[in-house]
């Protein structure tokens, strides 16, 4: 089965919230079908805005965003290519149980009731949270809520899964376990995954390719392939070496080297 090299195709993307200050500037990006890519950038550089644009939550000023050759939709009721999204915070409905939270998005995706039940069971089991099926989200820990959020994103069996720093609010041990599970899940599902992070180590551990962004407005500064075989270990010395190289590489660009022309003196 051949896989599309440009499954996600972004060309000349410009996004601005107020029409004046650019958040994303002339960004180009191509992601192959079934690939796991990380988008790496410093805090506030426009990484989340890029995901918002890919998911259709934010309308770009100009540029092309296509998934599987189709332009992305723009919001509620739209029936374009399904996208799974894992937010930095879980964004579950606290007045709905775990199963109901997943069922709502599945129903919106037009899945039948019998299939909804099957999928809920399958994905909760996959994320080891089956026992919380009928629990309110407020009774779950941060890690468990984020697992539900991932289950919700995967359950619609989307063309693309977007993840916006999903483990940044978790404690380090939980985050490591979840990263490991995510890597395994991706290998099982083979879905196209775009993972936004500001952690170089996290990007190296999870992704096949890393799009390094400028410090803002976001555009692609460099693309790095991660030549490390899977399964990976978080403490792998090869990752440590690559991390040091990337830190060295982005130091100036992210504003920690020599001041650039036009930078504030303050």
């Amino acid at each position: 089965m051949s896989r599309t090299a440009e499954y996600i195709r972004i060309v000349g993307l410009n996004v601005s919230y107020d029409g004046i200050t650019p958040a994303v500037s002339n960004l180009d990006m191509q992601v192959a079908e079934g690939d796991f890519v990380a988008v790496l950038g410093p805090s506030g550089c426009g990484k989340s805005t890029l995901l918002h644009a890919i998911s259709g939550v934010v309308l770009p000023q100009s540029g092309i965003i296509e998934i599987a050759g189709q332009p992305v939709g723009t919001g509620r009721g739209d029936q374009s290519v399904p996208i799974g999204y894992v937010f930095q915070e879980h964004r579950l409905l606290p007045w709905r149980t775990v199963a109901q939270n997943i069922a709502i998005v599945l129903r919106a995706a037009g899945i039948s009731d019998e299939e909804i039940d099957l999928r809920i069971d399958r994905y909760l089991e996959m994320l080891h949270i089956s026992e919380y099926r009928d629990t309110w989200p407020l009774r779950l820990s941060g890690g468990q809520r984020q697992r539900v959020s991932i289950a919700r994103a995967l359950a619609i069996q989307p063309a693309v899964v977007l993840m916006d720093e999903p483990f940044s609010t978790l404690d380090e041990v939980t985050a490591r376990v979840m990263r490991q599970q995510l890597a395994e899940l991706w290998q099982e599902s083979g879905q196209t995954l775009v993972f936004v992070t500001h952690s170089i180590r996290e990007a190296l551990f999870l992704a096949n390719r890393i799009f390094i962004l400028t410090r803002g407005p976001a555009s692609v500064f460099d693309v790095v392939d991660v030549p490390v075989a899977r399964p990976r270990r978080y403490e792998d010395p090869q990752l440590t070496e690559l991390e040091a190289q990337i830190v060295e590489h982005v130091m100036d660009e992210w504003g920690y080297g020599q001041p650039r022309a036009g930078d504030d003196d303050a």
């Binding site: 009721g77 007045w95 709905r96 709502i104 919106a108």
Partner: protein, 261 residues
Amino acid sequence: MIAESVTPPRQITGERRQRIQAFAVAWLLALGVWQITTFISGGWVPSLWRIFEALGEDATTANIYAEMWITLRRIFISFGAATAIGIGLGVAMGLSRRVTAFFRPIVVMGLAVPDIVYIIVAILVLGTDESSGLIAMVLALVPFVVNIVIGGVKSRDPGLDEMSSVYRLQRHRYLVDVVGWQVSPALLAATRTCFAFSWKLVVLVEALSQPRGIGAQVYYSFRLLRPDHMIAQALLFIVVLRIVEAIMFGPLERKLLGWMQ
């Protein structure tokens, strides 16, 4: 083990006792102040015993319950209409800037107009039949409901809006599952406020323009210089309303806010 199992019940008992004491002191104080007022007024303010006698007398007559039923029916009509209109308008204003721009001045003016003005204008325009009073009450209540609901809708979590947009939730699902549940505490507060205001207004409208209902009976007792019956009728009606409120809002509150516990 023993200390752990004994200490918490003692604390709870202590708290409960304090609450009962505070409740008893407040009631005794209120009754004492009333009795003192009776002495000071030289008998114009009825004594507690006279009120108690009037209560017994009124509670055993069938007429008072017929009047109560008339008032309750009016309350439910005005409360129902004002809540439905107020919640609908409040949600629309909370979600749309254009709708807010159109209705905001009307709501602000509506909040500032004294209730009595609505009643008088309704009587002048529509006469003294029942519908004029009901319309006046709905007009007076809607701005309060709208105001509370707008606050609830505007303070909703934008992250959940984003989530519903990403997952392409249909409009009605978004309104019910995301906005509706999120603003349910505000809706409940608006409904409770509306209910509390509506019965006070209904009684006022009845006293001013209607021949039947508890308000009319209270005013009738006042004209006959029977303040003991006036207060007894009001007290009886308050008791009935508290029961209605508990039956109506208790289960609703448990259903809408159960997830918070």
